[in-house]
Symmetry: C2
């Protein structure tokens, strides 16, 4: 059941230092064009946010001043790890989730949602390097590219956020709107190589990328284990 077009929608994204910009900018392309909607880019302060690779984004509003959203987009990237005990951010996610139609995580944004307590018993996905972290937050990991479990929608690594955003649009305003946006975006992808997933990448490519992510993956696992232990003791 989509939402009647005369009901305006508020859609917003958390952005943060050392995020992966594409987790946000990919979905923005479709989500900011949903008919009869407003889009809010949100961080703690209205100051430039520098992504992992140095892109500078400017938020529209703050986590304290953002309105209740219909859809909250939570991107990921290495910087997610610094927010896993940030109560201001986690309570923002929790508060928004309580009133939102959908929470949509991309990449390791799912781990932030996990730390906020949203993943208990939910099917979810994340970047393939972080898949083993999901169960520590009570989630049931899935290697689908986009997973819908009730109010919680998650997309896998980075560019999967584009696929998921078109699904979110179709849930909000129907398939015709989503298809029109797909055509506007010329989203008829032709990857030049067969290396986009652990299943298709040549083994040395897989090993190199895995190795490069080792430190952050170990941190994410340690943070997840500490979360799990704290819940077991509570």
């Amino acid at each position: 059941m989509t939402i009647p077009l005369d009901i305006p929608l508020k859609i917003g994204a958390l952005i943060f230092p050392n995020m992966d910009q594409c987790d946000f900018t990919g979905p923005f392309e479709a989500l900011a064009r949903v008919p009869n909607s407003s889009f809010f880019t949100i961080w703690k302060e209205i100051e430039p946010v520098r992504d992992l690779a140095g892109m500078k984004l400017l938020p529209d509003t703050t986590i304290d001043e953002a309105p209740q959203l219909d859809v909250l987009l939570v991107p990921g990237g290495y910087g997610q790890e610094a927010l896993m005990h940030d109560e201001a951010v986690l309570s923002f996610i929790r508060r928004q989730a309580a009133g939102a139609r959908y929470v949509y995580s991309v990449c390791t944004g799912a781990l932030l949602c996990g730390a906020a307590g949203l993943l208990q018993g939910k099917r979810a996905t994340t970047h393939w390097t972080a898949m083993d972290v999901l169960p520590l937050y009570g989630a049931i990991p899935s290697d689908e590219r986009v997973v819908i479990d009730g109010q919680f929608i998650s997309a896998g690594g980075v560019t999967s956020g584009i696929d998921g955003s078109l699904i979110v649009v179709s849930l909000l305003r129907g398939e015709t709107v989503a298809q029109e946006l797909q055509l506007y975006m010329a989203y008829d992808p032709k990857p030049p190589f067969q290396a986009g997933s652990p299943a298709t990448a040549p083994a040395p490519i897989f090993e190199a990328v895995m190795e490069r992510a080792r430190t952050i993956t170990e941190q994410r696992l340690a943070t997840g284990r500490a979360y799990q232990a704290s819940k077991a003791n509570a």
Copy 2:
């Protein structure tokens, strides 16, 4: 022939008001991660640039202060039309092109390159709504998703910039590096609908998107015809 890894590379993107952010942010994801390279985001002033749908991006440097680049990325979007007679921007593109290894246009960024005089006799592509504009700048239009003609590389609409960026990376640093980035980006796309190109979209979807672009398309054609006429009279 790729470039030896010990030779540092400078890669940069022009950004501008009412651009389509995804033409820039999609390619940024891979281009800003090229080993031994620096990335520069460039506009006339170091002030926030607001994209067509309201995303705010902050440039690193200006067209007057940017160094000679090895790769210049030229994105598109409706705002391209306002720059088609902007001599400061066009001479920046011309000057950079004269010293760059590659000029890489995404979407209607190709038209800016055309106005700068770079497309004469070149095979090129652009957003499908603007394909008929290309010949007015002396280009030979192609409906391939990514076109390489010597120093000039062009990608089609919006998301095709991601495909093209991986090709640019492979030209610069080789296929292994490009494949590692593709895996990091989890670029194994699964579009949820078959509507990403004029050839695959249902007819009513095609007509709706075409109709929505009618005004800007007519402007682009008029600008192109005026360019062609000025060259014929020159």
